[in-house]
């Protein structure tokens, strides 16, 4: 049967990490004799719908938002805590050295959802805004920052920023008119969504790896023949490797593109970043369940 793969961004292999991952993945499946179709972003529905369809076994593979999968099992949210890891290499060490994939899939598999891959889609996230460079938390006092969810609200509050929750489609207007002054994201995001026309400053806070996940239907995956599952696993491995290779070139290129489109990029020093880290680390246990925070602090220490 046809393997449906739901995308989450436009078909742009240079800017969109998950699209590139998915093409490599699908190509390997097809070369090995399995039928696979890529569905454009939103064609089969938004994040909530894709999760629902995957959990019913009606959609085989989907590029998805981490926090959506986190609804079923919050373990995976640990990897996205601010300043818990300092590189994608460290993230990969955590994934390889521990039983990571089984750990994050233990509970969600019961809901029919399995995470196939954790995909970094750009450099570590920073802070973009329309007003002035942000060097230390003190610079956030006069900024009203857009937060995506409760977790971001708490992170921003720990630094003393004002927050406002705005849905993504309204951001361009909100930034233009000053309802919000900025947001947290990877350097490529303002470029992809053309917010570079309004944003003036980007501070490279190196907050956390911007990750998306590829999830698949547990019913589908466990129902695959041994041979087919081997093909799928190999395709995942191949796509992961391609993604990490892609990432090497993309981090600096993203910052360059951001600069070229008129956004002033500020490289925060280690000391400045530490100020942000010192404020946010004590609230880890408010951002994710305490046992998960502890687990990831331990994992991160072991893989430094």
């Amino acid at each position: 049967a046809d393997i449906k793969i739901a995308l989450d961004c436009p078909p742009d292999p240079d800017h969109c990490g998950t699209y590139y991952w998915s093409t490599v993945f699908a190509d390997h499946l097809k070369e090995s004799g399995l039928a696979a179709t890529l569905y454009p972003a939103d064609a089969l529905g938004g994040e909530e719908e894709k999760l629902d369809q995957v959990s019913q076994g009606l959609l085989e593979v989907s590029n998805s938002d981490v926090s959506k999968v986190g609804q079923l099992d919050p373990t995976i949210m640990g990897i996205g805590l601010p300043y818990i890891i300092d590189s994608v290499a460290q993230m990969d060490r955590i994934i390889e050295s521990t039983d990571f994939m089984n750990l994050i899939n233990a509970k969600s598999a019961k809901h029919g959802v399995r995470t196939l891959a954790v995909i970094p889609v750009g450099g570590f996230s920073g802070l973009a805004n329309t007003k002035h460079p942000v060097r230390t938390p003190a610079d956030l006092k006069d900024l009203r920052m857009r937060a995506m969810d409760n977790i971001q609200v708490q992170i921003l509050k720990s630094w003393g920023a004002n927050t406002v929750v705005i849905p993504w489609p309204e951001i361009y207007n909100s930034l233009q008119t000053g309802v919000a002054d900025g947001y947290l994201n990877s350097a490529i995001v303002p470029v992809m969504f053309k917010h570079t026309e309004i944003l003036k400053h980007f501070s490279d806070l190196k907050l956390a790896a911007p990750i998306r996940v590829t999830i698949c239907s547990e019913t589908w995956y466990s129902g695959l023949s041994k041979k087919d599952r081997g093909i799928v696993d190999a395709a995942v491995a191949k796509a992961n490797a391609a993604n990490r290779e892609w990432l090497k070139g993309s981090v600096q290129r993203d910052l360059d593109e951001l600069g070229k489109s008129g956004v002033e990029v500020y490289q925060n020093t280690k000391e400045e970043r530490d100020q942000f880290a010192r404020l946010v680390r004590p609230i880890y246990k408010d951002l994710v369940p305490p046992e998960i925070a502890e687990l990831f602090i331990k994992l991160a220490d072991a893989t430094k």
Binding site: P40, Q53, E170, V179, K194, E197
Partner: protein, 426 residues
């Protein structure tokens, strides 16, 4: 199979079934006909996600504000004031309607929602001054098409991100085509005003300016607060809509129109109208999903790209295609699926991506007032209580005018590109 479904739907329509239920029936039968019955299990979540949209609140809130304004005397005083300004022109309120759309619409991203919001104030107002309901409805539906072309426009923002072109340039590019379209509509409105002897003109009793201004002051705070709130960034469009409700109640109170009965009736009708529109949206969401699964848009787009046409002929074919798509599909979804397929082909053939964005945006929104399926027609007919076909018929001259404008805008790229060039975007 296809014809069986079409025939059945025609029979259901003839029996007096509501459009929402006929759409829904067609969608369910499409699951069956394409051998995808197991996918029916996705529908409850599909419906939920279709409704769980922040920007959709703007529609509900603007309908509510309109209901309150109509019942508490706010609308009457606004109209009175408008007449003191435009009363000397025949069809003046029709012009006011068109100009309101120019500034007002296109903020929610859904032309259907914008049309719903505007119909509720402008149609009763025009009717009170002696226009027929159907004409008022037709002008409102037709001018709703202008909204998304003139900034602010969520549709253009969406296109800009998809095609990686400057949103500022797109905004600039939309202004002259939008004004062109508005001018075309104003000319058509003038023509009809003389032909059907609409209110206004030299013989009309024009209300004196200053007294009507004084009386209209509380009512005038509404457009000022809404537009000012959005333009100066005090509030998002959705929030501005909620503020509009509050201001409508305040202004209505000053006119002595606020009481338990008017408030209850306003909310009651808002609930029923929103409910009707929700059912339509739920049904068309199911239809769109099965189309996406079966990749119908991609297949038809394949015919378009494989047509062997080039240059201007290719653009005209795209026009036709998107016009049809606009009738049936959600605009954002249509852009997300089709622009990556067709955009690069059109650009490779020499079309400027900015120009293309304006054409596509216009196409999709004009599709909304094109019978037999136009979404704006359905919504305006529901809210204004005008029979669908009567409205479609009244809208037809405006539709033809807009198609003519679209043709001109397609053939003369400079109309779109002049301002972006002037402002240094190109």
């Amino acid at each position: 199979m296809f014809w069986l479904i079409v025939t059945l739907c025609a029979v259901f329509i003839a029996s007096g079934a509501a459009m929402a239920y006929v759409f829904g029936t067609a969608a369910i039968m499409a699951f069956w006909a394409t051998d995808n019955l197991k996918y029916l299990a996705i529908i409850p979540q599909r419906i939920f996600s279709q409704l769980d949209v922040f920007a959709l609140m703007a529609m509900t809130l603007f309908i509510m504000a309109g209901e309150i304004m109509n019942r508490t005397g706010v609308t009457r005083n606004l109209v009175h004031f408008s007449m003191s300004l435009v009363g000397r022109f025949k069809g003046g309120l029709g012009h006011v309607n068109i100009l309101t759309s120019v500034f007002f619409a296109g903020v929610s991203g859904s032309a259907m929602a914008d049309a719903a919001a505007l119909t509720n104030t402008l149609v009763p107002a025009m009717q009170e001054q002696g226009y027929t309901r159907r004409y008022a409805g037709a002008v409102t539906a037709a001018s709703a098409v202008i909204g998304p072309i003139i900034p602010p426009s969520i549709i253009l923002i969406f296109y800009g991100a998809l095609m990686q072109v400057s949103i500022g340039a797109l905004f600039a590019a939309g202004i002259i085509p939008g004004i062109t379209l508005a001018l075309f509509l104003i000319i058509a409105n003038t023509f009809f005003a003389h032909r059907h002897n609409h209110p206004g003109g030299k013989t009309e009793d024009i209300p004196p300016f200053l007294p009507s201004l004084r009386k209209a002051l509380p009512a005038l705070s509404l457009p000022v607060i809404i537009l000012g709130g959005i333009v100066f960034g005090v509030a998002t469009p959705t929030e501005a809509a909620a503020v509009a409700v509050a201001v409508a109640v305040g202004a209505g109170y000053l006119y002595g129109g606020v009481n338990k009965d008017t408030m209850f009736k306003s909310f009651q009708r808002t609930a029923i109208l929103t409910g009707s529109i929700f059912t339509i949206m739920a049904a068309s969401a199911c239809a769109a999903w099965i189309g996406s699964l079966e990749q119908w848009p991609q297949k038809i787009a394949g015919i378009v790209t494989g047509s062997g046409l080039s240059g201007i002929w290719f653009l005209l074919l795209i026009n036709l295609f998107f016009l049809v798509v606009g009738m049936a599909m959600d605009i954002a979804l249509a852009l997300a699926i089709l622009v990556p397929l067709l955009g690069p082909v059109a650009i490779a053939q020499g079309t400027d991506p900015i120009h293309l964005g304006i054409i596509l945006c216009l196409n999709l929104t004009i599709g909304l007032i094109t019978p037999p399926l136009g979404g704006c027609l359905i919504v305006v007919s529901a809210i204004s209580n005008v029979n669908y076909w009567t409205l479609a018929w009244a809208c037809l001259p405006f539709l033809l005018v807009e198609l003519a404008a679209l043709l001109v805008i397609t053939l003369v790229p400079d109309i779109s590109l002049f301002l972006p060039r002037l402002l240094g975007y190109l």
